[in-house]
């Protein structure tokens, strides 16, 4: 194990996979000479050269589409989109093409493509640069969706994504790039898809948090234990497709209470979907309705106090957990409120 920042863990995963497999190459806007808008690809151009690390023009739909074509012809492209909001310009290639080609052509061809993109609010970038859009990608059959919440998962999941035969939307978080964590040093320390991480064990309430919200949930769990004597089990699904529902259901079966925390919009969001699955599959295990804590159902505002109010923080998670346990009055305040 070594302490590593999330950004450097991603960089290490890319470096190792570039070394390991000749077919792997990177494409994206300013990933080479500039080193990446968030410096994830820093140093890779010097190490691997322009064939493997390609600066592209600002043409999102076409960069993704070229990745699709190159993947169909046997390469393993890793395309970086500067932020998740810009992926919207490439939705045609992501949804109509990358996700559907294997199916649409009767299984004759695969699209082993990785699309890396960071998301998240907190930097006052306003409504075109700050959203969390996991739910949009999770919605699409044919795509796999990973959203690592720790440096170790960032590295292990990215390596798995690059080796997978399916198109993978790999969602990083802008606010996590600088955080440090223990990362296994062995090259083959992959993190498999479809395996949730139980970040903290507990018996009173299950708190599911994704991407950055896994951390927020962990901090909330500490407060719940220290100040309220409530033991929360914190689960980070890590991949939204495939989804490790078993781990969530097993936890709910023992805690009988569940809170889902996400930074994205609530309407049709990750939590909405997961709450539906839990109620379909574990209705009898629940002692109270599943609570959701989410981003505000509004575009992300610029002004700092508004931005802060528009995505969940520890306090809302604590409140939601207490509410679901019947230990506080009324639904929790703040973005997303109760479910």
């Amino acid at each position: 194990m070594a302490a590593m920042r999330y950004r450097d863990a991603l960089n290490a995963a890319l470096r190792e996979e570039l070394q390991r497999d000749e077919r792997v190459f990177l494409m994206g806007e300013d990933i080479g000479v500039f080193g990446g808008a968030f410096k994830v690809t820093a140093g890779l151009l010097d190490e691997f050269g322009e064939k493997r690390v390609r600066d592209t023009p600002i043409s999102e739909n076409t960069i993704v589409g070229m990745g699709v074509g190159a993947a169909m012809a046997g390469l393993r492209p890793v395309v970086e989109l500067m932020t998740i909001n810009f992926s919207l310009l490439a939705f045609d290639q992501i949804v109509n093409h990358a996700a559907h080609i294997h199916y649409m052509f009767g299984g004759q061809v695969t699209v082993p493509l990785v699309l890396r993109m960071p998301q998240g609010a907190g930097h006052q970038l306003g409504p075109t640069h700050s959203h969390c859009l996991e739910a949009m990608f999770m919605h699409v059959p044919g795509l796999l969706v990973a959203a690592p919440g720790t440096p170790a998962d960032a590295k292990g999941l990215l390596k798995t994504a690059i080796r997978d035969e399916n198109p993978v939307v790999f969602i990083e978080h802008e606010s996590l790039y600088g955080i440090s964590g223990e990362v296994p040093e062995e090259e083959e320390a992959l993190v498999g898809f479809g395996r949730a991480r139980v970040a903290r064990e507990g018996s009173d309430v299950t708190v599911v948090g994704i991407s950055r919200m896994a951390r927020t949930a962990e901090r909330a769990a500490e407060t719940l234990a220290a100040e309220h004597g409530v033991h929360a089990e914190v689960i980070d699904p890590r991949t939204l497709r495939p989804l490790d529902l078993d781990t969530v259901l097993a936890s709910v079966a023992s805690t009988n209470h569940c809170v889902i925390v996400e930074e994205g919009w609530p309407h049709g969001g990750v939590g909405a979907n997961l709450a539906a699955l839990i109620s379909e599959q574990a209705f009898d295990d629940l002692d109270a309705p599943v609570q959701r804590v989410s981003g505000a159902d509004a575009p992300m505002p610029y002004s700092k106090p508004l931005e802060d109010a528009a995505y969940p923080h520890e306090a809302q998670v604590v409140q939601a957990a207490l509410a679901v346990l019947g230990q506080s009055q009324g639904p929790p305040a703040g973005p997303g409120g109760g479910s």
């Binding site: 190459f25 064939k51 390609r54 592209t56 023009p57 043409s59 739909n61 076409t62 960069i63 993704v64 589409g65 070229m66 990745g67 699709v68 074509g69 190159a70 993947a71 169909m72 012809a73 046997g74 390469l75 492209p77 045609d92 290639q93 109509n96 093409h97 080609i101 294997h102 199916y103 649409m104 052509f105 009767g106 299984g107 004759q108 061809v109 695969t110 059959p141 044919g142 796999l144 997978d164 035969e165 399916n166 498999g192 898809f193 479809g194 395996r195 991949t239 497709r241 495939p242 989804l243 490790d244 529902l245 078993d246 259901l249 699955l277 379909e280 599959q281 209705f283 009898d284």
Partner: protein, 368 residues
């Protein structure tokens, strides 16, 4: 004026154009008889652009086209049986009934697909070309699309990138004069389409898309340059679609006379007559080739009729490349129990919950 190829080569070109024509005429009939669903876009009138260009390719080169692509599959050698079966939505179709008319595919013959999104195939073509370069092969990609597609963002983006990265891709705009019902001069500020790539660093050429010889000659020259220089080129093939955009098209945007003027230049009789005039064929051989094409289409229809529909249980096949070692739910629905660990549990609970609920309702009724 390009010279005629060897007689057997010329005969094969003519036979292939005839096959595409007869195939599509029959497809139109089958559509009217509801054997074929969805959209059906015919390339009748445009056969010379298909055969003239594809015959300039090597087998290892990639071809990628649009939703108007029955002919592109046929020209690459995909059996008419599997193209017709795809139209019929049958399991033996070249996309196993998942794609339909707009989404033909034959990877084994390097026909990399028909695509239903106007302009969607251009970036993919550049990606295929990138892969050729990356692997150090001198294969190239021929990418066809319509005049209407030249207005899409992907046109500008892809031509720029292909020129910038010196990718071996030949873009071929099939100028059939319309994007659906919108005439070229009503949809494109630049109507001289061969010049539309100039500002993006992609020089253009033009061919007579009603003449298979001219098309072949120009495409051969373009391919030579693309292969040697590793630079993209744009070819405009000037042609005309004789039928409606798709089957539901009252064609109010053009006159009968205009259609007839172009039909007088029908590429199939034009080439057939030329071969007769040059002594490469006689009239009876001409009729025989045509009869062979029709007979082949009969077989294709019979095959498609007898091919089964895909089984309902196969609905979820190939949504993902499944990995035995990956647990968790790829899809909420699947017909393959093995890959979805929660599934057994879900199946039992799915039956269980409604049963419990109906029990509760019944008990409630009994109690009251």
């Amino acid at each position: 004026m390009p010279t005629l190829p060897a007689p057997e080569v010329a005969r094969e070109w003519l036979a292939t154009m005839m096959l595409i024509r007869r195939f599509e005429e029959r497809a139109g009939e089958m559509y009217a008889r509801a054997k074929i669903g969805g959209f059906l876009h015919l390339s009748i009138g445009e056969e010379a652009t298909i055969v003239g260009s594809a015959r300039a390719l090597r087998e290892s080169d990639y071809l990628i086209s649009t939703y108007r692509s029955h002919g592109h599959a046929l020209v690459r050698g995909t059996p008419p049986e599997s193209v017709m079966a795809e139209l019929f939505g049958r399991v033996d179709g070249c996309s196993h009934g998942r794609g339909g008319s707009m989404h033909m595919f034959d990877g084994s013959r390097r026909f990399m697909g028909g695509y239903g999104i106007v302009g969607g195939n251009l970036p993919i073509a550049a990606g295929l070309a990138l892969a050729c370069d990356y692997k150090g092969s001198d294969d190239l990609t021929l990418c066809t699309f319509g005049d209407g597609a030249s207005n899409q963002g992907t046109f500008g983006e892809t031509l720029n990138l292909a020129a910038l990265w010196q990718l071996p891709v030949l873009f071929m705009v099939i100028n059939n004069q319309f994007g659906m019902g919108t005439a070229l001069r009503r949809h494109s500020a630049v109507t001289d389409l061969q010049r539309k790539g100039e500002s993006l660093g992609v020089p253009g050429m033009r061919c007579d898309g009603m003449d298979v010889l001219d098309t072949h000659g120009v495409v051969c020259e373009a391919i030579r340059r693309v292969r040697e220089d590793r630079r993209p080129l744009l070819i405009e093939a000037v042609t005309y679609r004789f039928r409606g955009h798709s089957m539901a098209d009252p064609e109010q945007y053009r006159s009968r006379e205009e259609v007839e003027r172009w039909q007088a230049r029908d590429p199939i009789p034009a080439f057939g007559n030329k071969l007769v005039a040059e002594g490469a064929l006689d009239e009876s051989e001409l009729a025989q080739l045509d009869a062979q094409a029709s007979a082949r289409v009969d077989e294709a229809v019979a095959f498609a009729e007898s091919s089964p529909f895909p089984k309902p249980e196969s609905l979820y096949d190939n949504v993902y490349v499944l990995d035995q070692d990956v647990p968790g739910w790829y899809s909420l629905h699947t017909t393959d129990q093995d890959h979805i660990p929660s599934r057994d549990q879900e199946a039992s609970q799915a039956g269980e919950i409604p049963r419990q609920m109906s029990d509760a309702v019944r008990l409630g009724e009994e109690a009251s």
